[in-house]
Symmetry: C2
Subunit: 234 residues, 2 copies
Amino acid sequence: MAAAAPPPAPTPTPAPPVEHQLNPTPYTTFVRIRLATPSDVPFIHKLIHQMAVFEKLTHLFTATQESLSSTLFNSPPFTSFTVFILEVSPNPFLIAAPHLTQTLFSPIVTHVNLDLPIEDDDSEEFKIVGADGSEVYVGGFVLFFPNYSTFLAKPGFYVEDLFVRECYRRRGFGKMLLSAVAKQAVKMGYGRVEWVVLDWNVNAIKFYEEMGAKVLQEWRLCRLTGDALQAYGD
Amino acid sequence: MAAAAPPPAPTPTPAPPVEHQLNPTPYTTFVRIRLATPSDVPFIHKLIHQMAVFEKLTHLFTATQESLSSTLFNSPPFTSFTVFILEVSPNPFLIAAPHLTQTLFSPIVTHVNLDLPIEDDDSEEFKIVGADGSEVYVGGFVLFFPNYSTFLAKPGFYVEDLFVRECYRRRGFGKMLLSAVAKQAVKMGYGRVEWVVLDWNVNAIKFYEEMGAKVLQEWRLCRLTGDALQAYGD
């Protein structure tokens, strides 16, 4: 709705900068980061597929819900492959959700104030309905596992995937997920958090550098897979 | 001992190629690849330091025998950080070394025939004397641990370090160590073996490609460590 024009000013004054002309109504979005459970596999599967599309690597995507279920959740969190889920909701999260009260990791609950509401066209696909009828939406995930530095003689975490759905980007949610992993690494006395980035993904590189990471230009990833790997079997 | 000169031939014949003029005595060197045990930590520590020197990265080397002991060997082999040790000996290995008979990994025993004996100036530092007085020498190691591909929904192995001492190089021992990891990956139904290489180490890149690995040129390693990591603690 257009505002009525103000009466003419007695003397011309310069127009304020554009951002000051806006007087946004904040839309508060509540966020929770928690450990994934086996019931999250359908969401994890869809998120991995969206990531493969974004990375133009769908020809390498062969994961199924069944293969994810059989390979994740076989070890206690942080000792092997571990997934954090990012949930968003227009309503506050109950801090003391009993099924999420884990001694190893207390869910991180926060909120952001946005100028505009988030339009989520896939909300039905990523909706979780609680026992009390509350609705939350899966917005992203991070999958990581321990690695080891022989120079430090310390474990660290390697982040295999960090993904936030398109409509939730540029709100700090990716930073929240990666920060949660870094915080857990510090808590456990670990020495490093590492991951890889595609060299053409300049936005991601800028984002990681702003978070304090160094991009190591000299190292190249080597991969032995498929028939070349199978040749080493008996 | 020089052979007596043969009687002059009735007609001159061309000299055979140089390699055919040599008639080397083969020096058989026996090799064993086995899982490391906590008693190998002093060797592992020295090997990691030699690797740091080779990679010109001694400023990053802070490992001690104590820190290695407290972070390795806390989980069953292959479920977390795992070390294979390469041993060499002028004498055959006893296949049925009772203390090495592990259900998860049977030591790999083989031999190579060399034209010249290996001159190991550091043999005293890397000597293991068996209960029967037999002497073997630690020649190298590989440290690896499980990683995970979300696209395959399968675990793999990530090789953090592969190192063969200078005097044992160019005899196929590095290939034996990496092959042992690849073979174990196939045995466990894993999808990939991955590692990183410095882009200036052209010999290593050639070696890895000959083993069937692909060098992925597009990916860059990101690392969050030191104060930048600690900042994520509370």
